[in-house]
Symmetry: C2
Subunit: 508 residues, 2 copies
């Protein structure tokens, strides 16, 4: 073994020895199994202290290249990283097969997997199919270049601080802008009440995590947002449903329920409810708040599409009417701008907010500062409002086309309402028609709609589908709904023949 | 009330009526409390169907501007959004004071708040203080312009898809790069085994959420990462600690423990452990894996600083030596590049991975696609390796300066080890010296260090502090440690005088 030491080099002698022996091992010149020279002899031949050689050998042992055994000296045992363990080395005898990870899961978690159906990774538009399923913004309108310029500018201006750890609450100028926007829509919010999260979904998750113990009752509208149902199951809450009506959730049933039992909170989407599209009136909202006060009910208001009003006047969010910190509000940039940023926010009472902030910190410290700064810049330049105005033009027309296509193509007994905003249209099928059947039949013709059961905590007892017009243009709306209508006509006829029933039954 | 209808306009007549009345209300021309004309009369005077007027009134009522009461007609009740509720309207009598959110919290959550101490929002460098506390990368080296160019290029190239919803697993080209990098460091990882998360912290959180039921036992090194302790408390796990030694966690104690009881998993940082800086040898790692196999123990390996080796050869991660999917690995770009992106990853066995993916989806759908694409581009161009080489130069020098400053300034009885990488140096104080006292005294002189107790599940029984050299330059290291040494000399003398004790006691 030939080693050369450079006494003028910066690297200490023991490191030079270590490095050169490592090279010999890694190159194969010192084979696995071969013995290193005794430390005393090598030290003498190199003219160094014996402890210098010892510390080189120690380092090699520490990194697993060699092993010292009493009475056998130091042997090469591995060529180290980038090498497989030598085939000749026997695997330890006692290692059993892979661990049973599913067996290790927290209680009930193994059943969760099938129940989460998030709007992720939309299919690329590779074929002619028409997709009415996800509430996924139409990427044809993404203001890519304007966002790119904002990103570039904020990085040039304050890049260093945007790449560093940031505040858990969120980047202050971003919270200022969000609060200001909310105030302009009648919601008296201060930046201090805002907690920035990774899209509305994380807001919902943090809220559930903060409040739910297994068995807690949570009231939801029926039908409601499917991923919220998944979250409630994840936290093993008891899901208590109150039916939606065209005026909003049924307040009389809610009242009866609240008189009977304690619930942890109510989850509601007063604007353009998912999936029914219903917007509740200001009066309904006031009554709901009075009822909540009377029964000390906490409310989680999901304003995910609040800014997507295509028609008619504004309605104040529940949060704006609430003077007692009873409503926690969740908002997002995913539906009005782009989901890929994963930026949303919670507005919470100070007391609750500080708990949510601690949970956010424990979960992932904070959301990307760079993306928050970019959105702040985008809003500050008026680009977001401009973008919303453009969406308003596009979707007002799409919604009108949806209305006329439904009138033109649906058979008698089909019911729907055209919402004042958002992306969802709820279709109730003629009496007795199976939603599973219609979903399957239209899919064969390249048209995709969401079966209603995804949105119910339990069996809805009637057939319905949700149409999302977020990612279909007017032509696709007309063509797609013609296909749905054609199959519905056939199915309704088959059903009438089969059971002779009538087509009349209560609307949502 | 004067309304003008345009029969050639696109807007339907009922909307024209609604809009004009809304304007009158919002401008104050129609005062709150005033009565709208009867529908029949207004319809006649405008020459429209009465139902047209009714639907305009309905819409105004829905948006809370007016209210219809039997026998009293329709009155204006609010000027709508952007307006406070009129002062004259009495608040509902039954609304109690703000809800008791803390009372609503999930079990045990109210005690969490004080226990989370994340490296968020580092103080700006406004004064002359020298900060050895957080493991916060030095922003003086952030490659802002190179990252900016990557962001710009990926947005130009594939902006639309980067702003859309993405895959929960993570952006495929990014996972490819991460897997490739891990393979190059000897870790046989495939892109399919990777789950992208918001920094290592979210990886730890998802792992805990997947596996922990209240009361489950988790083994940690003592001392260990403080935020992991917070997470374990959040999930109400029983924290079982095994002492660190200069060779890694004490395997004999671990063996005894595992013979005695079941634990859910072991959390370990084999590279540059936080806070001790200890890197375990390959042999120690193999023994740990054999022991884990024998007792069917799951392992969570935190490789947060794996790429930050300043000196010596590579050591294979546990995950690379594990052939049975027993080790779940978490990695991050926060320590080697920049924390602001909030991008890390988990490597998990297929079975566990699919559960973690479902949890990630339920939590926040996915991490920002844009930021993943930017990091992939940054790595692909070789920029990340270049950056790491630069850090290696800088921190090798800083570590050397730390070593010489400690030798120069610390009193007898102080003990430390200089790690081969990472940012942490663990300082054991002379016998009997109070860590609280030294932390407070040096802080008064503008030098900040972390008290050792932050890293222990329970009282360590001896005084120690963690020094992080991540954000201090060589001059600051020397100056800061001189201050620490000066105060330690005084404190050690005071302590010796007080109890006449010796300075000898076991190392970590």
């Amino acid at each position: 073994m030939q080693l050369l030491l450079d006494r003028d080099a910066k690297a200490p002698l023991h490191q030079q020895i270590e490095a050169q022996i490592r090279d010999l091992i890694q190159s194969g010149d010192l084979a696995v199994g071969s013995r290193l020279p005794a430390t005393r002899g090598l030290a003498r031949s190199l003219g160094v202290n014996r402890s210098t050689v010892c510390s080189a050998y120690d380092a090699l042992a520490a990194y697993g290249f060699v092993e010292a055994r009493v009475g056998q000296g130091t042997r090469v045992i591995s060529r180290g990283p980038l090498q497989e363990r030598p085939a000749s080395a026997p695997a330890p005898a006692s290692i059993p097969s892979r661990p049973d990870w599913t067996g290790l899961l927290a209680d009930g978690l193994d059943v969760l997997s099938d129940q989460i159906d998030a709007p992720c990774a939309p299919a690329a538009r590779l074929d002619d199919s028409i997709d009415f399923t996800g509430i996924i913004p139409d990427e044809r309108f993404f203001p890519v270049d304007r966002l790119r310029r904002c990103l570039d500018d904020v990085l040039r201006r304050e890049g260093v601080s945007l790449l560093q750890y940031g505040s858990t609450r969120g980047y202050k100028p971003f919270r200022d802008i969000v609060a200001q926007r909310m105030r302009l829509s009648g919601n008296p919010v201060e930046a201090e009440e805002i907690l920035v999260v990774n899209g509305a979904q994380q807001g919902l998750e943090l809220f559930c995590k903060a409040l739910l113990d297994p068995g807690d009752a949570v009231v939801v509208e029926s039908p409601t947002y499917g991923n919220l149902l998944s979250l409630l199951r994840l936290y093993r809450a008891e899901i208590v449903s109150v039916p939606m009506t065209p005026e909003g959730l049924d307040l009389r049933q809610l009242e009866t329920l609240l008189q009977r039992r304690r619930v942890k909170f109510l989850y509601t989407m007063p604007h353009f409810q998912n999936p029914t599209g219903v917007t509740t009136s200001q009066r309904h909202r006031r009554r709901l708040l009075e009822m909540a006060a009377e029964h000390d009910l906490a409310i989680l208001e999901d304003g995910f599409e609040e800014e997507l009003r295509w028609d008619g006047g504004e309605v104040l969010p529940l949060r704006a009417l609430d003077r007692h910190g009873r409503v926690c509000y969740v908002g997002t940039f995913s539906k009005g701008l782009c989901p890929g940023f994963r930026i949303g926010w919670l507005v919470a009472d100070t007391q609750l907010g500080s708990h949510l902030e601690q949970l956010k910190r424990a979960t992932d410290f904070h959301s990307s500062v760079l993306l928050q700064a970019t959105l702040a810049e985008f809003c500050r330049r008026g680009e977001y409002d401009k973008h919303l105005r453009r969406l308003r033009r596009v979707y007002r027309a799409r919604m009108a086309r949806t209305a006329s296509a439904l009138r033109a193509h649906m058979p008698a007994g089909t019911r729907w309402r055209i919402p004042a905003g958002g992306y969802c249209v709820w279709l109730e099928l003629p009496h007795g028609v199976s939603e599973t059947e219609i979903v399957a039949r239209v899919a064969r013709d390249g048209v995709h709609v969401s079966p209603g059961r995804h949105f119910f905590p339990s069996d809805p007892g009637y057939g319905c589908v949700r149409l999302s017009i977020s990612r279909v243009n007017e032509e696709e709306i007309d063509g797609g709904l013609a296909v749905v209508g054609r199959h519905l006509h056939v199915l309704a006829q088959e059903t009438r023949r089969a059971d002779g029933g009538s087509n009349v039954r209560p609307y949502i």
